[in-house]
């Protein structure tokens, strides 16, 4: 068997990547890199019933001499292992179809094939066969040979120095004699280097869900399942068999770059060109958007964009999105486009976005660019309650065989890696939990291994502990399974499964393709992101209420812009419920940044992000804005990029552009930089840009200090950089919701409450805010309430009547059916409610929520009565008022018991705030109310008390944490230094009602209390039964 030294190039025909989940132990690019080093001529990527890894392999192999073959391995019950490889584009489509069929038969993650699947529709593929046994050869070799006659069928022999090598060798020779089929050398490659054997063994254990010690029998015996060099191969296989591999390679002439995306053609009327049609639609839209006619500069811009679109052939992309948003418009579904291409005049005219280019004309820079030749990016957000309608429309219009969701590759992260590897190595759940708890994942400066070694000193003293650390690091980033992307649709002109296999998602009736968004981008396919956004639902409901109660009809695009009163409100951080700028961090920023224009909002949204914060851009920006620090630019070119943000880079686009103008990056290089930024922590690829960036800037005459700062900022941006184009679209919704809050507050709160769950605040917090804005909030009442909250006219203004949707445990249909039958004069008795079909349990929930007050008295009385009505009434007695047999009267609840029951049954109460009661009882003596803090002297010593509504997880590195306290007048920001937090650890971590003694700090509109003393006052709540945790912990 030993071969002579010869020059037959090494070829691997059966490589599994880690996209054969828990089987392959190498990333696609690792296989490619090693193959190139070893002088391989070709590699066949043949993941098991999958092509999920081929795009990554293709990208890695693009600039190498290596030839890639694309195929897939199948375990066929009757046949053994079949490796099907595509010989041309047609064959690739056949392979994708086969995978689609096999995956379609099974739930997510599994597949099923039969011998029959290999007997048809694979004529443009070739097949390498590892027969199950002699019987399979006897039965199936003839028909298989027939099927693969055009490109060939081989017996795939692999040798990995196993005990049965000789036996199999003889068998294959025998098969060959029997059938005349050629034998080809086809190593089973499961990883690229021998060093991956431990990881492969661990993956096997994870796959079998047993510790390693129990599955040793299933492990491969040696490290031969790697990419072996030419000499080793020559030692394993006869020359002829290796030469057969060359033949196999030569049969395959398919390149992934051949895949051309074809747009759905039906969007353009017969006889028209896409360019024409898009132009027509754009100008029709322009007439509506600009009723006074297009300004010259806008028209020039529009023409430039249309020209660019035509040049790159992206008309269909815009037409596709236009078609979808048209449908949304018809159905009255609110939407908003965002993304690099969204903020263009074309998109504004096509009604894809409502961001008026008059307001923000600087954004077009990152429009579709020729040099980058990347597909345009538009995400469309729809109302979260109605996105499904859009998805169904797409499926209906294009068919399920032409439209599918992109996949998201779920990868091992630290937590899952620790668990899976740990279990495989025999650690108990408890130990692993302990280790995980010792790692502070927000401590970015100390690698997790070092943290663990410091915290668990004995860990690395055993080989097992050392392997744990080593293998966790190796497995991190390994794909684990495919999930569905949040809303990225790929729509094809013909059957999608000729482009990429489709498989079942875990959600019923959903299918996903085997590629994720990076794959799609790499192949320049087009995807349309159909996303869900709660605020759009809320805004649509707000606009409806405004129309209904004020007779004014507004649309997103017609809301008056740049209203100073609205900005004044925001400058006071009065932004609860306003899109994007309602969080604690955003509210802290508002009085500092003091937004005065739309563009300020764009900045505000982007600046309160980890990226700018880590890159230390916030303070320079604020200082420059306040005029404390001069705005300077190192050069006119840089000035052009950074002028709109006062010389401080805030958006991702600016960083990219900076690399181009200041360091001389080409468009392509800048794009690489952007990708590297996205995951530099994991890949460490950003480092390679450091020298280039700094050298580039030095050459162009910039100071080293400036260059290093820019690089530092890029690192800080990392995964969190926020694109200006997205920020602008968000700012539009932020402004719209703020405008509605200012002018129509009742409609604003009512619609928000009717759109929950969404946003940052609970119904309780929203209702409190509404009451602070002098809106009367009326309790849920079976005689007056609807399912939804509604606006009711009161003497002065509109009031808010709470809906029954708040009451926990009620079914919407049941309540709606009852309310339809509500008599003009209201219900007379609980019996009547039952007779009208209300279930006993719903009646009890209503009683518990005190919604039956006007029918049967207070909640205890109502419940006492409702509980007698549990048995279904006999039809005979329907309509006959039965007098209650039991005339017990029940004592009314105390106010605090009522409040507690309100919170338990509805999560809100329109009664007094518990703190108001406590204050009345005199137990909060000497404590300031939230509303009084602003009137204090700066640095005055104060005491405050309130519910803990937001508790930041104690940090290790920063040393300061924040807490939000709520009392009956509002929220208070408490700043806690690490030493204080440690000293009062228990109160800090667990108190629900907290008293803080400290010093008030007032800077303009910004008021903080610096805590000195924390006292847990939770015991005072026992009368309220408020033991449930209302706090948002650790966000």
């Amino acid at each position: 068997m030993a071969g002579l030294v010869d020059r037959t190039p090494p070829i691997a025909l059966n490589c599994l990547t880690n996209y054969s989940f828990l089987r392959g132990a190498a990333h696609p690019h690792e296989l490619i890199e090693t193959a190139v080093q070893l002088g391989y001529q070709a590699l066949a990527i043949t993941d098991e019933c999958s092509v999920a890894g081929i795009v990554r392999a293709h990208v890695a192999a693009r600039e190498t001499p290596l030839k890639l073959l694309f195929g897939s391995e199948f375990q066929v019950p009757e046949l053994g292992v079949c490796i099907v490889i595509a010989c041309n584009r047609r064959g690739y489509a056949q392979l994708c179809q086969l995978i689609t069929t096999a995956r379609g038969r099974c739930p997510k993650g599994q597949y099923e094939v039969h011998v029959g699947d290999f007997m048809q529709h694979l004529d443009e593929c070739l097949c390498l066969w590892r027969p199950l046994d002699n019987n399979a050869v006897q039965l199936h070799s003839k028909p298989l040979q027939q099927q693969f006659q055009k490109h060939g069928l081989w017996l795939a022999f692999s040798r990995h120095y196993q005990a049965d090598d000789v036996e199999r060798y003889r068998c294959y020779q025998q098969y060959q004699q029997q059938t005349g089929l050629p034998i080809v050398a086809a190593c089973e490659v499961n990883y690229h280097t021998a060093a991956r054997q431990p990881l492969h063994d661990v993956l096997t254990a994870i796959r079998l869900q047993q510790p390693l010690a129990k599955v040793r029998q299933e492990l491969l015996p040696n490290q031969e399942f790697r990419l072996r060099d030419q000499q080793e191969l020559a030692h394993c296989y006869p020359l002829a068999w290796r030469q057969a591999a060359v033949k196999v390679m030569n049969q395959c002439r398919f390149e992934l770059s051949e895949l051309r995306y074809e747009y759905p053609a039906e969007l353009v009327p017969v006889g028209r060109t896409a360019t024409d049609y898009l132009r027509e639609l754009t100008y029709t839209g322009a007439a509506k958007r600009f009723p006074k006619g297009l300004r010259d500069d806008v028209k020039i811009k529009l023409e430039k964009e249309l020209e660019l679109i035509a040049q790159l052939g992206y008309e269909y992309f815009f037409l596709t999105i236009h078609d979808i948003v048209q449908y949304a418009q018809q159905r009255g579904i609110l939407y908003q486009g965002r993304g690099s291409a969204a903020n263009s005049v074309v998109c504004y005219c096509l009604h894809i976005t409502a961001v008026n280019p008059d307001q923000i004309d600087v954004l077009f820079e990152r429009f579709v660019s020729i040099e980058r030749d990347e597909p345009p990016d538009i995400d469309v957000d729809f109302e979260h309650e109605r996105r499904e309608e859009i998805i169904q429309y797409i499926y209906q219009k294009y068919g399920r065989d032409r439209a599918a969701l992109a996949a998201t590759v779920i990868c091992y992260r630290l937590r899952s890696a620790v668990r899976d590897v740990g279990k495989a190595l025999g650690y108990s759940e408890q130990e692993l939990r302990h280790y995980l708890s010792r790692i502070d994942r927000r401590d970015h400066d100390t690698p997790w291994q070092q943290q663990l070694q410091e915290q668990v000193p004995g860990l690395t003293e055993t080989p097992r502990g050392r392997w744990l650390l080593e293998l966790i690091e190796q497995i991190r980033g390994f794909p684990r399974h495919l999930s569905q992307h949040v809303g990225g649709f790929v729509i094809a002109s013909r059957t999608l499964s000729e482009l990429v296999p489709i498989e079942n998602a875990s959600m019923p009736e959903r299918t996903v393709i085997q590629w994720d968004k990076d794959d799609i981008e790499a192949l320049k396919l087009i995807k349309v992101d159909i996303l869900a956004l709660g605020m759009l639902t809320a805004i649509r409901k707000m606009l409806q209420l405004v129309h209904q109660h004020h007779g004014k009809s507004y649309q997103l695009a017609t809301i008056p812009t740049e209203d100073p009163k609205v900005y004044k409100m925001l400058q006071k951080a009065d932004s609860i419920g306003v899109f994007q700028i309602e969080s604690r961090a955003q509210m802290n920023m508002l009085p500092r940044l003091k937004p005065r224009t739309f563009y300020d909002l764009v900045v505000q949204i982007a600046i309160v992000r980890p990226g700018p914060i880590q890159g230390d851009m916030v303070h320079p920006y604020l200082r420059r804005r306040a005029g404390i620090e001069p705005v300077t630019y190192p050069s006119p070119a840089v000035k052009q990029v950074l002028e709109r943000t006062m010389g401080v880079p805030i958006f991702q686009e600016q960083v990219i552009k900076l690399a181009m103008v200041a360091a001389g990056f080409s468009g392509g290089e800048a794009d690489h930089l952007r990708r590297a930024m996205a995951n530099w922590k994991r890949s460490g690829k950003l480092k390679q840009f450091e020298d280039k960036l700094i050298d580039g800037m030095l050459q162009r005459g910039y100071e080293l200090d400036f260059a290093q700062r820019i690089y530092h900022q890029i690192c800080g941006f990392g995964e969190y950089g926020f694109p200006e184009s997205h920020s602008a679209s968000f700012a539009n919704l932020a402004y719209a919701s703020a405008w509605l809050k200012y002018y129509y507050p009742a409609a604003f709160y009512c619609a928000l409450l009717n759109s929950l769950p969404m946003g940052f605040y609970s119904a309780d917090q929203l209702i409190q805010d509404a009451r602070r804005h002098d809106i009367a909030v009326l309790p849920a009442d079976i005689q007056k309430s609807d399912w939804d909250h509604q606006l009711v006219p009161m003497q002065q203004q509109l009031g808010l009547r709470l809906g029954l949707r708040l009451v926990k445990g009620l079914r919407e249909e049941e309540v709606r059916a009852l309310l339809q039958q509500r008599p003009e004069a209201g219900f007379r008795s609980l019996e009547q409610l039952r007779e009208l079909g209300l279930s006993a349990s719903a009646l009890q929930e209503l009683a518990a929520a005190d919604a039956l007050q006007s029918v049967s008295g207070h909640r205890y009385q109502s419940q006492w009565q409702s509980l007698t009505l549990q048995v279904e009434q006999l039809p005979l007695f329907v309509g006959v008022d039965t007098t209650p047999t039991d005339l017990d009267t029940i004592a009314a609840p105390l106010e605090c018991a009522d409040i507690a029951a309100d919170y338990r049954t509805m999560g809100v109460s329109v009664r007094r705030h518990p703190l108001a009661l406590l204050r009345e009882q005199g137990v909060l003596k000497g404590c300031k109310r939230a509303s009084e803090l602003a009137l204090c002297r700066h640095q005055q010593v104060v005491q405050v008390v309130g519910f803990v509504t937001c508790r930041q997880r104690p940090g290790t590195s920063s040393g300061v944490t924040f807490l939000t306290l709520e009392d009956e007048t509002g929220n208070m920001n408490i700043v806690i230094w690490l030493a204080t937090a440690r000293k009062f650890r228990q109160a800090y971590l667990t108190a629900q009602l907290l008293k803080v003694k400290g010093i008030v700090e007032i800077h303009g509109e910004v008021v903080h209390v610096i805590a000195g003393h924390l006292i847990d006052e939770t015991e005072r709540l026992s009368a309220f039964g408020l033991r449930s945790n209302r706090s948002r912990d650790f966000h």
């Binding site: 990995h160 120095y161 196993q162 005990a163 049965d164 090598d165 000789v166 021998a194 054997q197 431990p198 063994d201 510790p211 390693l212 010690a213 599955v215 040793r216 029998q217 492990l219 015996p221 040696n222 490290q223 031969e224 190595l425 025999g426 108990s428 759940e429 408890q430 939990r433 302990h434 708890s437 080989p463 097992r464 392997w467 009890q844 009683a847 518990a848 909640r859 205890y860 419940q863 006492w864 509980l867 007698t868 549990q870 047999t885 039991d886 017990d888 029940i890 004592a891 609840p893 018991a897 029951a901 104690p954 650890r985 228990q986 971590l989 667990t990």
Partner: protein, 481 residues
């Protein structure tokens, strides 16, 4: 209902498992804050038992582990094991069985005593209480106890951690009336409905008439009240002491050798003595079993020349025996089993009759072992491991193991019947390779990896051997014939 008598006693030990573990710890360790955790749904583990140090640090039952460990960073956390606690509950029953005949186990943490008849025996509650108190001091547990005129009344009070021991039913009723509805033991939904009508204590419930309650809360509540008042008593299943003794304890940390196990052994033997004493039994053999991580357990059979029952005797003999033994791996748990028990009067004077009860093989084995030491008899076993040295091993004789199925042999590659204990260096030139190589590279996990190419080869005398080649050269590892 004037005829009510407080004839029931309930002992509730909310930290049963943890208390037992604490007892096995050294004083310094016991002072460390420590908790037991249990997983509830998907919300992550929560604290179910805790020691005083943990309580002092602000940890509460039901607290999420995340919060607890943030509160006390060096908190010692272990998982709660229900089945271990059940064994402990039986042990506790065993202990108290010396004083009370009618004990019903109330898992997970309670014991119910029927004491009506005992009251007469002891002459009242005070004396009984004193006796039980003394007995309970032998168990290292924190507990609450309450008397009652019904099992339910006693249980609710004890579980609410109200210790009321009184002969007076009125005291019991008054204490019950104070209990919040949450301590009623009723299912959550029923509790909620009671709260919905403003009934916050058991007292408010007891005030209402049966008919008013029945009309609203159904038969369950009237039933419940009847049970509480003692008008109706569900039948109790009383504890029966087991016929043989078995106990297993968690050592809480890895213990390296037999000498360090003596402390735990002492405790086990103490329990055994209580067990034997309660039944007037003695034993002639013990079986100690030490459990290891990832390794089969180590078994030591200890035979005594004459029947024993006192801890002191048994300990002495065990220690003598263990001096000869080596613990192969660190132990995590230790168990003791005494199966063949005899009554103390009937001294076994007929060896023959005793042996007839043993299976023939076991009897033979035990006799050989008695002569040659217990490691003298070993049994080969197949192990799944590619490394030949690990592919089979000899196990000490284990009475339970000999009907264990053998691992599948069909898939195993060709291996020599006779594997040399130590591979012998050979001169390659003396051997003719017939088959190979089979490359074995495995065992990275315990730092004894093997990297060898195996061949089947024939030596000059035509004997078929299994030889390998590695970095050190050529070796003979086994013979096929």
């Amino acid at each position: 209902m004037s005829a009510r008598v407080n004839g029931w006693l309930y002992v509730h030990a909310p930290y049963l498992l943890l208390d037992e573990q604490l007892a096995a710890q050294a004083e310094a360790e016991r002072q460390q804050p420590q908790v037991l955790l249990q997983q509830f749904g998907s919300t992550g583990p929560r604290v179910v038992q805790l020691n005083t140090a943990a309580q002092v640090a602000g940890i509460q039952r039901g607290m999420a582990m995340v919060t607890a460990t943030t509160l006390v960073p060096n908190l010692i956390c272990r998982d709660y094991h229900n089945n271990r606690e059940q064994l402990l509950l039986q042990q506790l029953a065993q202990l108290l069985y010396q004083d009370v005949a009618q004990i019903a186990l109330q898992p997970p943490q309670g014991l119910l005593f029927e004491v009506r008849s005992l009251l007469r025996l002891y002459g009242g509650w005070q004396a009984l209480q004193k006796q039980l108190q003394q007995r309970l001091q032998e168990a290292p547990i924190r507990y609450y106890w309450a008397s009652g005129y019904s099992p339910l009344a006693a249980r609710l009070l004890a579980q609410a951690e109200v210790s009321v021991l009184s002969a007076d039913p009125q005291v019991t009723t008054a204490a019950l009336a104070q209990l919040p509805i949450q301590a009623s033991g009723l299912e959550n939904r029923a509790q909620q409905r009671l709260l919905d009508v403003g009934m916050t204590t058991l007292g408010s419930l007891l005030q209402r008439t049966n008919s008013a309650l029945g009309a609203r809360f159904g038969k369950d509540i009237t039933h419940y009240l009847a049970e509480l008042r003692g008008d109706f008593s569900p039948p109790q299943r009383y504890y029966r002491p087991p016929a043989q003794f078995y106990q297993r304890i968690d050592l809480l940390s890895e213990v390296e050798g037999w000498p360090q196990l003596v402390f735990a052994l002492k405790r086990l033997l103490q329990h055994l003595e209580v067990f034997l004493q309660g039944r007037q039994l003695s034993t002639r053999s013990l079986r100690l079993q030490a459990y290891h991580r990832d390794q089969p357990s180590t078994v030591v059979e200890i035979h005594f020349a004459h029947a024993v029952w006192q801890q002191r005797d048994m300990l002495q003999l065990c220690q003598l025996h263990l001096e000869r033994q080596v613990l192969p791996f660190p132990a995590l748990e230790l168990s003791i089993r005494a199966r063949e028990l005899e009554t103390r009067q009937a001294h076994a004077n007929s060896l023959l009759s005793e042996q007839q009860e043993l299976p023939a093989v076991a009897a033979l084995v035990s006799r050989i072992q008695a002569r040659l030491g217990e490691q003298a008899i070993q049994v080969p076993e197949v192990q799944a491991d590619w490394r030949p040295e690990y592919a089979h091993r000899v196990e000490p004789w284990n009475n339970d193991a000999h009907d264990k199925p053998m691992p599948e042999l069909e898939r195993s590659p060709r291996r020599p019947l006779w594997l040399l204990p130590q591979a012998q260096p050979i001169d390659r030139r003396q051997w003719q390779l017939h088959w190979g190589p089979e490359r074995l590279q495995s065992g990275w996990w315990d730092d004894e990896p093997c990297v060898r190419d195996y061949f089947i080869a024939v030596d000059s005398s035509q004997r078929q051997g299994w030889i390998y080649h590695d970095q050190q050269g050529w070796f003979l590892h086994g013979w096929f014939s």
